[in-house]
C-alpha cells in the first residue's frame, strides 16, 4: 500500500482532473467506477505525477495500473527505485 502522503496527493490530483469528489476516491477506485475518470483525466494525472515526483511513466506501465491503489503503489515503488539510483 502506498504511504499516506502519496495516497492523499493522488486523491487530490485525481479529484482535480476527474471532477470526482475527493472523499469518494478510494484505493479500489477505477475508471470504471469513478465518474469523470476518463482518458483525458488519466493522461493529465500521469503528466502531473511525472512532473511532481520526477518520474517517467512508461505507457506499458500505465496500461497495467487499473486502480488508484495500483497507481499509488507504482509511484511509491518508482520513488524508492529512484532513491536507490535505479
Amino acid at each position: 500500500m502506498a504511504d499516506a502522503a502519496i495516497a492523499n496527493r493522488l486523491r487530490e490530483l485525481l479529484s482535480f482532473y476527474s471532477g470526482a469528489p475527493e472523499a469518494t476516491l478510494r484505493p479500489d477506485s477505477t475508471p470504471q467506477n469513478t465518474e469523470g475518470w476518463d482518458s483525458l483525466a488519466n493522461l493529465n494525472l500521469m503528466a502531473a505525477l511525472e512532473s511532481e515526483y520526477g518520474l517517467t511513466i512508461a505507457t506499458r506501465d500505465v496500461l497495467k495500473l487499473r486502480s488508484l491503489g495500483d497507481i499509488g503503489e507504482y509511484v511509491q515503488a518508482s520513488m524508492a527505485a529512484k532513491d536507490r539510483g535505479g
Binding site: 482518458s39 511525472e50 511513466i57 512508461a58 506499458r60
Partner: protein, 238 residues
C-alpha cells in the same frame, strides 16, 4: 437481454427525472436499438462540436508513438474493434487522415479526420452530409481502441497529438465533429480538449425517408429527405 428485460429498461427510463418529451425521445431512441429496428428505423440526436485552436500538449505517455497510418496499417487498425478493413481502405482512398498510436510494434488506438471542402458523408443515411467550407476545415470522427485501453489515456494522447498536427501541419482553421447524445464521455473529452457545442441535430428515419431538425444559436430548421440524400447541411447554418 430478453423482452421483459428490455421493457424493464424502458420503464426505468420513463422514471428518470426530466421533461416528458426528452424521456419519450430517449425511450424511442433506446427502443430502436434494443428491439433491433435500427438501422431501418432510427431515432437519434447528436451535437456538433467545433475547436478553433489546438489543445495544450501534455508530456505524459511520451513513448506512445503516434503517426499517420498508411495502407500497410489498415489491418491492424481495423482489428482494434473489429471494423471492416474495406471501410478503412475507403477512408484512406478518399484522402482521410488516419492517425494511430503504437506501443512497440502494437497498434493500440486510432482516430480519423476528413478534410474539406468535400462534405463528410459516412453518416448520411442517419443524419445528413456535413458541408465543410474549405480545405482548412476538418471533420474529426471515430476513435478506436480496445475496451480495456479506453480510459487509460492513450486515446486522449492520440487525439491531442493528432489535433496539434492537424492545426500545425495541415493548416486547419477549425475542426468539427458530432457526438451522439448518449455518448456523454466523448462529449466531456471533447469539451476538455477545447471543443464547444455549436448545434444539435435530431433525426428520425424510416425506410426510405428521414426527418431532420437542426438547432443552433436559438434558431432551428427542419427537413424531410430521402434516407441517402445528397443534401449537405449548409455551412451558413453553423
Amino acid at each position: 437481454m430478453n423482452v421483459a428485460g428490455k421493457l424493464a429498461a424502458v420503464a426505468r427510463e420513463l422514471k428518470q427525472p426530466g421533461p416528458a418529451g426528452r424521456k419519450l425521445f430517449r425511450v424511442m431512441q433506446r427502443g430502436t436499438h434494443s428491439f433491433r429496428l435500427a438501422p431501418a428505423i432510427i431515432v437519434e440526436r447528436a451535437v456538433m462540436v467545433e475547436a478553433r485552436q489546438q489543445p495544450k500538449a501534455t508530456r505524459a505517455l511520451s513513448d506512445l508513438a503516434i503517426r499517420r497510418a498508411g495502407s500497410a496499417d489498415v489491418s491492424a487498425v481495423a482489428a482494434l474493434d473489429n471494423r471492416p478493413v474495406s471501410l478503412l481502405e475507403a477512408r484512406l482512398a478518399r484522402g482521410d487522415l488516419i492517425y494511430l498510436g503504437q506501443l512497440d510494434e502494437q497498434v493500440v488506438c486510432a482516430t480519423c479526420f476528413h478534410r474539406g471542402p468535400t462534405p463528410f458523408d459516412e453518416e448520411r443515411a442517419i443524419f445528413a452530409r456535413w458541408a465543410l467550407e474549405d480545405d482548412a476545415t476538418f471533420w474529426s470522427y471515430d476513435a478506436m481502441a480496445p475496451v480495456p485501453m479506453r480510459a487509460l489515456g492513450v486515446v486522449a494522447k492520440l487525439f491531442e497529438v493528432a489535433l496539434n498536427e492537424i492545426f500545425e501541419m495541415h493548416g486547419a482553421r477549425q475542426v468539427r465533429g458530432f457526438i451522439y447524445d448518449w455518448n456523454q464521455l466523448s462529449l466531456l473529452l471533447h469539451q476538455r480538449m477545447g471543443f464547444s457545442v455549436i448545434a444539435t441535430m435530431t433525426a428520425v428515419g424510416l425506410p426510405g425517408v428521414k426527418w431532420l431538425r437542426w438547432e443552433s444559436d436559438g434558431r432551428s430548421r427542419q427537413w424531410v429527405l430521402r434516407r441517402n440524400s445528397d443534401f449537405a447541411l449548409p455551412p451558413a447554418m453553423v
